[in-house]
């Protein structure tokens, strides 16, 4: 059996590990959970009743689809980058939907105190 140096073994192990990592990355599934849960959160927060929030939910959905299409074509980096757009749109939709509710509550509270002052000058 041919003598294998210690350096040779280490080099071989490094090559195998690098190949394994590269293979793992190449076949890693696209993680859309962040985007889809963001979209769901926006819908739960009432995005359907707020036009601006509805628009961003729609954009997020389209971006998730675009990311999936890029992933299928093997353009993993572009797919992941496209998903960041979807996450940003979903996050904005949540804020817009909640903001609308908060605005209504603030208006209601101000109306309530105005009425109380009017009834009790």
């Amino acid at each position: 059996m041919r003598h294998v140096s210690k350096f040779g073994i280490l080099l071989f192990a490094a090559v195998i590990a690098t190949a394994a990592i590269a293979a793992g990355c190449a076949s890693a599934p696209l993680h859309t959970e962040g985007s889809t849960s963001g979209i769901r959160s926006a819908e739960v927060a009432g995005s359907a009743t707020v036009p601006q929030a509805t628009l961003h939910v729609q954009l997020a959905k389209e971006e998730v689809d675009a990311a999936k299409a890029l992933d299928v074509k093997g353009q993993k980096a572009q797919a992941a980058s496209m998903l960041s757009r979807a996450e940003a749109d979903a996050e904005l939709a949540v804020a817009l939907a909640k903001g609308d509710t908060e605005k209504m509550e603030a208006d209601k509270a101000m109306q309530r105190v105005r009425q109380l002052r009017q009834d009790n000058p």
Partner: protein, 266 residues
């Protein structure tokens, strides 16, 4: 133009076109992101959401750095797109913070106004009770199990065997009205009583009519009709001996009973 000059001109135009083609073009995403950040950082809510403004700034910074390295890459465009959304997010959260602050202030104002109303109501009630107490003392009212009883002498209110109120009765009844209007809303019973002279049916009728006259006066002067009822007791409830003229005079009376917190039945 000589061929030589033409060649030089063509060469210059070609070089200029080449440079123009190579010039860096800022992607729309980045232009939008810069504008959105500018707007968010100058919005009224910005001071209330410094962390979100900072995140938007970092996102824009990442996009600018990517643009410096590779102006037309998908990465630059995506980072710029995200930066625009982060700026819009910061602005939306700033608006929410302003709304929440307005709501908190409105709630605090509401609570303060309510407390002020409660204090004023208590003060008004105390003043009313004080006025009522003074008025009831002036009317020699007595507190009994059936309520506060104001007794008005029949001689002050009516002529003998009559039920029309004497002019002199009005002064006394006006004092009663003032006291009842000043006090809390209570149900009132007006009871007419006679001495023992005359038949039972006569005295019963007379006591009923006299009680009704007093009730009508009270209602005519502002007391709610649905809270006052009148009834005649005839000669059945003497408070003094009918054998003497003084005793009979005391028995001829109208009693106004202010019931303790009950509702009128008619």
């Amino acid at each position: 133009m000589k061929p030589m000059q033409l060649s030089i001109l063509v060469a210059i135009v070609a070089i200029a076109a080449l440079f123009a083609g190579c010039a860096t073009v800022t992607p729309n995403e980045l232009i939008n992101a810069r504008a959105a950040y500018e707007q968010a950082s100058n919005s009224p809510g910005a001071p209330l959401v410094p962390a979100e403004i900072h995140k938007a700034h970092d996102a824009l910074d990442s996009a600018e750095q990517s643009f410096a390295k590779d102006s037309d890459s998908y990465k630059t465009k995506d980072l710029a797109y995200v930066a625009e959304r982060k700026a819009e997010l910061a602005q939306a959260l700033g608006v929410s913070a302003v709304d929440n602050a307005a709501k908190a202030k409105a709630d605090a104002d509401f609570a303060a106004k309510q407390a002020q109303i409660v204090t004023k109501t208590k003060s008004d009630l105390a003043a009313t009770q004080s006025e009522l107490s003074a008025a009831l003392v002036a009317l020699a009212a007595k507190e009994e199990a059936r309520g506060i009883v104001i007794t008005l002498s029949g001689g002050v209110l009516f002529e003998t065997a009559k039920w029309d109120l004497l002019p002199s009765a009005q002064t006394k009844l006006d004092q009663v009205v003032a006291a009842l209007l000043a006090g809390p809303k209570r149900n009132i019973i007006v009871e007419g009583n006679t001495d023992s002279q005359g038949s039972e049916s006569y005295n019963q009728g007379l006591s009923e009519r006299r009680a009704a006259s007093v009730r009508d006066y009270l209602v005519a002067h502002g007391l709610p009709a649905d809270r006052i009822q009148s009834m005649g007791k005839g000669k059945d409830n003497p408070i003094a001996d009918n054998a003497s003229p003084e005793g009979r005079a005391n028995n001829r009376r109208v009693e106004i009973i202010i019931q303790p917190g009950a509702h009128a039945s008619n």
